[in-house]
Symmetry: C2
């Protein structure tokens, strides 16, 4: 196989959700395309890589010359709520559901012994300042409902400590909408039972 | 969502085997990477897109300044056999199995009313010249075992016509190695029965 093509396939194969077969197909598709899709993809990638930076306050990726991100710039979002999430894709998911109208805080990962993620790797230090500066009254944790998610949540709560007038909350656990009990794991079922509501 | 990121995700989502969720994850992974993987991928893409061209004889992608591809340059491959395939990934598959030692001919697609592929879209015209110039004695069709594959094969055979000393062949149809009869479709089973061998 041509060495340049091989190199390109290897780089694509390292991307998440892609293996070497999918990478092969993608590279072939791009190189055989006559409309210049390979170059336009490459240029869009360079443009984004050179100008997109995490917002210095909340970590949402944004244009470097804009300073703050769209959420931190938007005064209508200053409703006293911060939603703490793992990464930007969680922000997109929440935005799509239009369920939250405050500001976000991206940790950039979860504490994990296996992955070797320590508190220093996460965007936590700035949170106490944000609470003060943005007059925050509620921190909503929307982290994955896993051991790592819960560990990280406990750690962040302990770092912030008790501040008068600041409440912490987390998303409810339970049976998902349309969820059939047959297909629900025991852990979720236990949480759903423990959190049952009187009608 | 930031417009540059959105544009990039849309371009990735158009690639084969990727949808918008996978494209999101890939773009996030690339833009959050601190080792410059986005730029290096973009540069490898530009390098390949600008210098890789189909071999003018057989259609295998190769460095433009090399002229012919690695197979057409290799005299050891001039064994009088040409294997006709749909695209370059079929060449890679056959090379990996090391089952064929002649030269290839990439059609660049299959005749298809649905996709609107006509004979003019395929790399067929040069085949009669190749048979003469390269002293070909066998044309092996390794096209997909589908209606479109067979239609294309018949068309190519009819275009080449009868040439003295040139044989046509196609890959055998039947039960794949390790194939359980329970999981084989009726069409394959019919072909396997029709082509049964005496022991």
């Amino acid at each position: 196989m041509n060495s340049k093509i091989e190199k390109l396939i290897k780089q694509f194969a390292k991307l998440p959700r892609l293996g070497s077969r999918a990478a092969q197909r993608i590279v072939l598709n791009l190189l055989q395309d006559k409309t210049g899709r390979a170059l336009s993809l490459a240029n869009a990638l360079i443009d984004a890589a050179e100008t997109i930076r995490p917002c210095p306050v909340c970590g949402v990726l944004t244009d470097a010359d804009a300073g703050l991100c769209e959420f931190c710039r938007d005064d209508a979002r200053a409703n006293g709520q911060i939603c703490v999430v793992r990464d930007l894709s969680d922000v997109w998911t929440l935005e799509k559901s239009a369920v939250f109208h405050g500001r976000y805080h991206i940790l950039g990962g979860l504490l994990s012994g296996v992955a070797g993620t320590t508190p220093e790797d996460l965007n936590i230090k700035i949170l106490p300042d944000r609470i003060k500066n943005e007059k925050i009254i509620e921190i909503i944790f929307a982290l994955p409902n896993t051991v790592e998610g819960k560990t990280t949540q406990h750690y962040v709560v302990s770092v912030i400590g008790d501040i008068d007038g600041v409440n912490f909350s987390e998303l409810a656990s339970g049976v998902p909408l349309g969820g059939d009990l047959d297909y629900i794991d025991d852990g979720t079922l236990t949480l759903a039972f423990g959190g049952r509501k009187t009608l």
